[in-house]
Symmetry: C2
Subunit: 414 residues, 2 copies
Amino acid sequence: MADTLTLDRVRELDADDPLKSLRAAFVLPEGLIYLDGNSLGPASETALAGLDRAAVQEWGQDLIRSWNSAGWFQLPLDLGDRVGRLIGAAPGQVAVTDSTSVNIFKALSAAAGLRPGRNVILAEGSSFPTDLYIAEGFVASQPGLTLRLQGEGERIEDMLGPDVAVVLLNHVNYRSGRLLDMAALTRKIHQAGALTVWDLCHSAGALDVDLDGAGADFAVGCTYKYLNGGPGAPAFVYVAERHQAEARQPLSGWWGHARPFDFATRYEGAPQIARFLCGTQPILSLRALKGALEVWEGVDMAVLRRKSLALTDLFIALVENRCGDHGLDLQTPRDHRARGSQVSFSHPAAWPLVQALIERGVIGDFRAPDVLRFGLTPLYLRFEDVWNAVEMLRDVLDSGVWQEARFTARHAVT
Amino acid sequence: MADTLTLDRVRELDADDPLKSLRAAFVLPEGLIYLDGNSLGPASETALAGLDRAAVQEWGQDLIRSWNSAGWFQLPLDLGDRVGRLIGAAPGQVAVTDSTSVNIFKALSAAAGLRPGRNVILAEGSSFPTDLYIAEGFVASQPGLTLRLQGEGERIEDMLGPDVAVVLLNHVNYRSGRLLDMAALTRKIHQAGALTVWDLCHSAGALDVDLDGAGADFAVGCTYKYLNGGPGAPAFVYVAERHQAEARQPLSGWWGHARPFDFATRYEGAPQIARFLCGTQPILSLRALKGALEVWEGVDMAVLRRKSLALTDLFIALVENRCGDHGLDLQTPRDHRARGSQVSFSHPAAWPLVQALIERGVIGDFRAPDVLRFGLTPLYLRFEDVWNAVEMLRDVLDSGVWQEARFTARHAVT
């Protein structure tokens, strides 16, 4: 592929891109190639406008009345349905609320509660750490429960047994970008009598997720990566409709009450997904997210997925063609069926290389101990951006600039 | 008192008010008398400016780099210390994070874990409901634990026994505005071998809370009422320094890890208050709160408390003097030692009365079934506002306008 690739050909890909008009919806700093949308998505004009209106008019002028007049109280379920469309969830199954970590706790609690005779939570050792930390905290709080981790070389499907209640899986691995087959794994897990909790942090907004189609049970994910909802924007939780009547979670705050403004003494869980709400939500952050989701209206997720794969294909081909002798080791699967929307390479000098790239306006990120990670996001990235990023990477590698002290001396904070 | 009160005298109180310059820090809609700051505090210029900068510059232009360059990652503990000063907590004991409801769950978990031989959580039946709902969810998740509720006429100090692990108390009651004696109750609870979780939602920023001085163990509270942090701004959690080494809570997400960016497989709780963090926080909402807290710099909480009591004294005296024959029944204690910063009256027509007042630009709120609730907030309210609000209340009552169908037909949503 790379042999036939020229800048002219790359520009043709941009000209033919059915999503090209969406780039204009975003605020993108001049001169920057942003390959970190898998960590924090950029601002859009509608997100900033929605936030400004929420702050200046709704809070500043309308004050307490905005809980009704601006629909603040309905935002978690309203936004939940909007996110639902992007992850293959029919309405009434998704709430936007709290953090991913808190939602994992709720989902694990509810799922384990639906499998009372079983005592094992199974998770990937390579999972994003907070998933494991929450699972660890949850099992420590429940006498008899155990957390079992998939080790390197082990397959989830071989670890299922009559003691496994819940399997917690990362749809796309945060480090390698490896994509799991949700439908196939869910089927095997169900055959073994267990339930699934899917973490979609690195797949929601990155590809054509199909929760309902896969028969998923529970899912969680964040909205500040590929969905571009703003730093730390509230997360989402999905509960399949068939589980909602029986599912219980212990963070039973007033927003999950059937009639919160009755101020009753006893808890009575709201029907359906609202029972997975807990306390009062950060409205300003939710309003930015609401604006961000407007950009997604009308986006065909199959078209998005095609562009994503074309972007990652191009990036891999160009890096291997132009930086092939510098010891970058591809961590992301070549198989489209196993690839998310990021490309990761390992390299002993990953940290200084990422710093040198950032100084030159190509923002990717570093994941300990040795991974360079690049998010190739289809809504606002051009094929020419990929070309230019790889040119910069080649230049950094060839020049040896990354060996200078200012790049090697520091340690990662984020 | 009321006999000697004239508008001239009230204006003198404003002229002599040591906090009068702070009103200019707030965005207050023209023509509105806002007596609902106990539910949602108004915006300040610094809150709006901080939010705008966070959105347009930090997110829009600096993107992922702002986690370090703008101090986003440090916001929960940075703001925690700022809130700490206002509630009598020395640095390192408060984190701003998640919702009040989620923080109650953490505090109850940690407190119960420190009293392993005891199996009762004791709470007020008149508590703000979410406290009870969370306690109910927590005890349901822990075999052997029981929730015991204080009934009407019962005294907390008479309900303590060797089985009580934790007492969950509202410092100021959300409905009546009654203030509990934190120091005295904490002493009695400690004498009985139990620990305290204080809910400060209606006292933080309303009066001179002294957590350290009272020997409190755990506390939670919100920042969107008297602290004016913005709608649904993240809540806070306090853990007394002496408990931090031993206290454990099950929402052990990555923000509470000792080294979150090591991406280790096993959880290792951060030392001190950071262990009460869980997942990624809504930064835009936190940045509005940060701006809001700037208004508090240099505010003497004893001076604040004196003005608060003078405002509520004036309000009670004027209502009784001018609306005394309309059947309003004072629910708030007259005793200063037992009064927060709100005044509540019960009245059979509370709902339409509140609606008629709102239509005339005096915003208080209704709490089911029959309470009119008015927050008298010292930072931005003038004594003349109190005078004018009572004049409007008298006019509404005298005119009978509240009996019109448009006020009586609707039901409360918030």
